[in-house]
């Protein structure tokens, strides 16, 4: 077959891909159907189009396998250059370039009409259309050309991953192609696949072939969406010598046999107008008695048409088998009529082909096929035929079968047909499970079309113990890389590499085959041909969705008139693709820029001009939800326990942190023991660390507990209510907490931190009714509206977002002194000698040296570490003895923090002491004293608290820097204020939020005004 390929041949097989699916819904043995089918990446095709396709050998069987599988349907719906369904503009350039409709492409003369040389892939009874070979000038994607030709690939990036492995088998594919081509290139050879009477047909001249093919142009086999043109007068091709025909075909009334099987096919379309006596004979015999053997289906080797005809039989008819001879195939099955086609109206045209399979997903039921054949053999002639299927538009008239011969004399074929009626065979087939190749196709690692044995490039051969194949079945083969595997982006695998379940399926099929063979040796080849997926040349099948998508693309392409040139889509003149509008892009960028500026500027600029709105109040209103919550926390007695439920995700940390921080400080100040649990594990860990930082000097599982993550959301909360003790037995790190809780009532209250109103609802509806536990809520602003009704049900204690966080902080600062928030055990004041300024060693500013010195300091704590209490000079309760930066220093010196990272301030001169807080570089404090070893410097914070810092991290100076930032300790943590603007970091955050909200409101308003104008302009147009 490959020797007949024309490099300029039609490459519209992809178009036919869709046509095939339209006319023949995918059967279950179709390896390309189902959800696993993945359409080719057309973008990849377009992008990778190149001249490398030119290097693709025309007789490459790998490519031929792809083309054959796709082109297989041409045997049923032949196409020509005049076929209106072919729109080459819709096809990628590398496909168009080889289309025969092109100006530089002649005629359908080489479109594949071939007698005597069956294709390398696909069961073809001598009449087929050659899979088109690529044009040398066509632009085929490099990966396809390379993979197909088995050439060395330049790099993996040139090949899709799903094809990269397929390339590995291309050598074998080439060998297979060559072997098949060589075998087929000798018509008349004794080893030829076809009987001589068909080989002779290959001697047709080009003109005759063209004429014959032209007769197919307007054929309508009832395939959906096939051109519904009126059937032209049938022009039979020249007949071959009749002496080479089988006997059963030779015995016709006029003694003339038309060996063109295409004409056999043609009778399905124009039976009424055919002038070929054999065809008339066949047609006339169709309505009479005889087993319903669909010759076309046999030849197609298990296509959906075959399945539909044999297993679904709309007409449900057959004639009893004549024991003495052969009954001609019942073409009524093909036509969709009943057995008595004398009664069949002329418009009962091929419902099978119109609707071959009402259930495209139905499994390929070979047993049903056999059963249908058997049933056909036992139905009595007198049995009335079931009503025919819904009539379809008649392209042809079914002739009367009155004068048809009833028998043929070919004994081989007769015995084969008899075997189909064998009771044993039917019994064996019926006992077997239907072959579910759909499941096989869905197996991701197992392609539905495994290759035949490696190295075997010849035609289909029966098993050793099976009788030889009929002559017409020889030559059936598929390529190693089928179109199915390519389109599914999977690689065919040999049989021995299949998964176990598929191997089991295969074995089961082999058992069926053995049963059938035992019943009738003649049917074995048919079973093999029909059930073995690699030996079935199934047409490409598309799902409905894929077919519709392809149609949509085709229609869109036709509407716009777009074409593909050089691998790029070129819009037609006047219909250029709408350019991307610039305005939305600019607007989007403008929105992003303005919002970013509004949010960032207040954080980095101290100008009051950026402050909009008003700051949150310094205290809650007494009756407000926030005030009630604050009072509730403030009323807790020391030693009591409060349950903290953390029910928010990390995305809400920024909003809730300013609220959680003063809340925890408040609890610690009050001496309350927080027990923290949560339904979000990440946030729970974060809150645990935050609590560690806030509660410096307090111990986990003694002064506070970070409990477990509660699985199951509301269910987790329920377990907290019902099964509290086990949940709190261990903390988040698995350490024992030492808690012995009888229930939630043992807590003094619970605070729910959440960004979801559902969490509030869970606590209000499922927990509050069963416990006497006062509940307070701290929620984000987004969750507040829906949480408010539930909060009102449970006391109305609710804090909302950043605003209440700031108010909480301010009120807490006003109520407590900064020293109250230092929870480390503070030493008793003991005067320590201070060194004179002249004795202070000069500390280098070099960062490296500083780091080294701090490391040294950390490694060699002072001798005071055993009694750290003896070193601090002030208690928190003591009045501040020194001023902060800018004030006088007892030593006359000031310490400026150096370096680039935060600096620890400890409650003693050594790393064994606790870190009380950290300060940023640049902060300046008055120096209270210097340790004896001169490794540590005691500084005085603005509120009078004195802490120690490593001498290596400070620079001592005699002057108070006027621009040094002010640092203070408060409920919100260590806050550093700007000398230019008395705003804490929290206040600056509020300014950022406020300015961002205002800018957002303005942008929204402006956008809406612009939108209104756009609408007005649009309506005016």
């Amino acid at each position: 077959m490959s020797d007949n390929r024309d490099p300029n041949d039609d490459m519209s097989w992809l178009d036919d891909l869709n046509k095939s699916a339209e006319g023949n819904p995918p059967a279950d043995n179709d390896p390309l159907r189902g959800d696993d089918l993945v359409m080719p990446d057309w973008d990849l095709f377009a992008e990778d189009s190149s001249d490398e396709m030119a290097a693709l050998p025309a007789d490459d069987d790998t490519f031929a396998g792809l083309l054959d599988a796709a082109d297989d349907d041409d045997d049923l719906t032949p196409r020509s250059a005049d076929d209106p369904a072919i729109i080459t503009d819709e096809i990628p350039a590398w496909l168009q370039a080889s289309a025969p409709e092109g100006e530089d492409s002649p005629a359908p003369a080489d479109s594949g009409l071939d007698f005597g040389t069956p294709p390398a892939a696909g069961l073809d009874f001598g009449v087929s259309f050659d899979p088109p070979a690529p044009s040398p000038s066509a632009e085929v994607p490099a990966w396809l050309g390379m993979a197909d030709a088995g050439a060395e690939v330049g790099g993996d990036e040139d090949i899709p991953p799903w094809l990269a492995e397929a390339d590995e088998t291309s050598e074998e594919a080439i060998q297979a192609a060559e072997a098949v081509a060589e075998e087929m290139s000798t018509p008349g050879d004794e080893e030829s696949f076809l009987p001589p009477w068909l080989q002779d047909a290959d001697d047709l001249g080009a003109e005759e072939a063209n004429a014959f093919q032209a007769s197919f142009d307007d054929l309508d086999f009832g395939v959906d969406e096939a051109p519904a043109a009126p059937a032209p007068a049938f022009s039979p091709p020249p007949a071959a010598p009749a002496n080479d025909m089988p006997d059963w075909m030779r015995t016709q009334e006029q003694g003339r046999v038309d060996d063109d099987l295409a004409s056999l096919l043609d009778v399905t379309a124009v039976p009424g107008e055919t002038t070929d006596p054999l065809l008339a004979d066949l047609l006339n015999s169709a309505g009479s008695s005889g087993p319903d053997i669909d010759l076309l289906s046999l030849l197609e080797g298990g296509t959906p048409v075959q399945t539909g005809m044999l297993s679904q039989q709309p007409g449900g008819t057959a004639s009893p088998a004549d024991p003495d001879g052969f009954e001609m195939p019942d073409f009524d099955l093909l036509m969709g009529g009943g057995a008595d086609d004398d009664d069949v109206p002329s418009d009962t045209y091929s419902p099978i082909l119109d609707e071959p399979s009402p259930e495209p997903d139905a499994a390929f039921d070979f047993s049903a096929m056999l059963g249908a054949a058997a049933a056909a053999s036992v139905v009595d002639d007198d049995e009335p035929a079931p009503p025919a299927a819904a009539p379809q538009p008649p392209p042809a008239v079914i002739p009367s079968a009155a004068a048809a011969p009833k028998r043929r004399d070919d004994p081989g074929f007769d015995s084969f047909l008899d075997s189909l009626a064998s009771d044993d065979l039917i019994a064996g087939a019926e006992d077997s499970e239907p072959l579910d190749l759909e499941a096989l196709l869905r197996e991701p690692s197992a392609p539905a079309a495994p290759t035949r044995s490696r190295g075997s490039t010849g035609p289909l051969e029966p098993a050793d113990d099976a009788p030889p194949l009929p002559e017409f079945l020889r030559g059936v083969s598929v390529s190693d890389n089928s179109a199915a595997s390519l389109l599914r982006q999977q690689q065919d695998v040999p049989l021995d590499e299949l998964p176990d379940e598929l191997r089991a399926l295969h074995d089961e099929l082999a058992g069926i085959g053995a049963t059938a063979a035992a019943a009738s040796p003649a049917v074995m080849p048919m079973i093999q041909a029909a059930t073995a997926p690699p030996q079935v040349a199934a047409p490409v099948g598309l799902t409905d969705g894929q077919r519709k998508g392809a149609e949509l693309l085709r229609n869109l392409s036709a509407l716009t008139g777009a074409s593909v040139e050089g691998g790029e889509v070129v819009a037609p003149t006047g219909l250029r693709p709408r350019p991307r509008r610039v305005l939305p892009v600019v607007a989007r960028l403008l929105v992003v820029a303005l919002l970013t500026a509004a949010v960032v500027l207040p954080m980095v600029n101290d100008s009051d001009a950026l402050r909009v709105g008003v700051q949150p109040p310094a205290a809650f209103a007494p009756s407000s939800a926030g005030g009630t919550a604050y009072d509730f926390i403030d009323s807790l007695s020391a030693g009591s326990m409060v349950l903290i439920s953390v029910d928010y995700n990390p995305g809400s940390i920024a909003e809730l942190d300013p609220l959680v921080t003063p809340l925890l400080r408040h609890l610690f100040v009050r001496g309350v023991k927080p027990v923290i649990v949560g339904t979000d594990p990440v946030t729970l860990q974060y809150i645990g660390r935050l609590t560690d930082a806030i509660g410096q000097g307090r111990q986990r599982n003694v002064d506070y507990v970070v409990g477990r993550f509660l699985l199951g959301d509301a269910v987790g909360t329920q377990t907290l209510v019902r099964d509290l003790a086990p949940l709190l037995a261990n903390d988040i790190d698995g350490q024992p907490t030492g808690l012995d809780m009888g229930g939630l009532d043992d807590f003094a209250g619970a605070v729910i931190l959440t960004d979801r109103s559902d969490a509030v609802r869970t606590w209000a509806e499922q927990v509050a009714p069963v416990v006497r536990l006062p509940l307070a809520y701290a929620v984000t602003a987004g969750a507040a509206p829906l949480s408010d009704p539930y909060a009102q049900l449970t006391g109305g204690r609710m804090l909302v977002g950043l605003r209440d966080g700031m108010t909480y902080t301010r009120q807490l600062d006003a109520q407590y002194t900064p020293a109250d928030f230092i929870f480390v055990p503070l030493p008793t004041p003991t005067p320590t000698p201070t060194l004179p300024p002249t004795a202070v060693p000069a500390v280098t500013e070099d960062a490296e040296t500083a780091a080294t010195e701090e490391a040294t300091a950390e490694g060699t704590p002072t001798g005071d570490e055993a009694t750290p209490e003896a070193d601090l000079t002030l208690t928190p309760e003591a009045e501040p003895t020194a001023e902060s930066a800018g004030a006088t220093s007892p030593t006359g010196q000031f310490a400026v923090m150096t370096g680039t990272t935060r600096i620890n301030l400890r409650n003693g001169p050594g790393t064994d002491f606790d870190v009380i807080t950290v300060v940023a570089p640049g902060a300046q404090f008055a120096v209270a004293s210097i340790s004896d070893d001169e490794e540590w410097v005691e500084v005085i914070l603005p509120e009078g608290v004195q802490l120690w810092v490593a001498a290596s991290r400070v620079r001592l100076t005699d002057e108070s820097g006027s621009s040094a930032p002010d640092v203070r300790v408060g409920a919100g943590g260590l806050e550093q204020t700007s000398p230019l603007r008395e705003a804490t970091s929290l206040e600056r955050r509020w300014d950022s939020v406020a300015l961002g909200a205002v800018v957002a409101a303005i942008l929204i308003a402006v956008g809406c005004v612009v939108g209104v104008f756009q609408i007005i302009l649009r309506r005016r147009r």
């Binding site: 990440v682 790190d733 809406c1008 939108g1011």
Partner: protein, 215 residues
């Protein structure tokens, strides 16, 4: 109609245990003889046991999900060349987090938690701002309806009122009224609908009309 025994069995199990759980959770001590029945028949411990089952099953499901995630990326790593780098990063990150979690108090674990994961999640949350503002700004031109206009007006007013209005602003009572009456009514209506839907869904499961489990 074909009735499968497995479906009947699962539905019956769901109904029985659903009713038991409901009884154990709803019936409290103030319901007289009903409370006595619940207390004396040991339903409450059974409910507690069932809740523990749920928690354990949830934990197992979580582990199964983690296993599946890792398995998918391992498979991708070996098959899908294009996705391999991402899967590799994921697997390495997964292993690193597991290792760091062995020392939960370490600085490395803190860094992964606070400076990687939480920082990224916060960044993603921040990106929502831009999308919301741009979407609201183009809402009128894309969908010019009265409800869109009402949404825009409400959004602008609430944004400005939340940060700009002084405590003494005369608009504050108006804003408070809007929050107290229409907004509160709307939210309560939503919550009422949610509650009714939840109730109906629960009853359907309890009477076997819906299946809480897949067969």
């Amino acid at each position: 109609m074909r009735v499968r025994l497995s479906a009947v069995l699962l539905t019956a199990l769901a109904m029985v245990f659903g009713l038991l759980t409901l009884a154990g959770l709803v019936v409290q001590g103030d319901l007289g003889s009903l409370s006595q029945i619940v207390n004396q028949t040991g339903i409450r411990p059974l409910v507690t046991l069932l809740l523990r089952f749920v928690v354990v099953i949830s934990a197992v499901a979580l582990l199964a999900g983690v296993y599946n995630l890792v398995a998918v990326h391992v498979r991708r790593l070996s098959v899908k060349r294009g996705l391999a780098p991402y899967s590799l990063v994921m697997l390495v990150s997964f292993a690193a987090v597991i290792v760091l979690s062995l020392r939960p108090r370490s600085d490395e674990a803190r860094m992964v938690l606070e400076e990687v994961q939480i920082a990224l999640e916060l960044a993603f949350a921040g990106l929502v701002l831009f999308s919301l503002v741009y979407g609201a700004a183009t809402l009128i031109s894309r969908r010019p309806t009265w409800s869109s206009a009402l949404f825009i007006v409400a959004t602008v007013v609430m944004l400005l009122a939340s940060v700009v209005l002084a405590p003494t602003s005369p608009l504050l009572p108006v804003i408070a009224w809007v929050n107290a009456v229409p907004v509160d009514a709307g939210t309560r209506a939503i919550l009422l609908g949610v509650a009714l839907a939840t109730l109906v869904a629960g009853i359907r499961v309890l009477v076997g009309q819906d299946r809480a489990t897949r067969e």
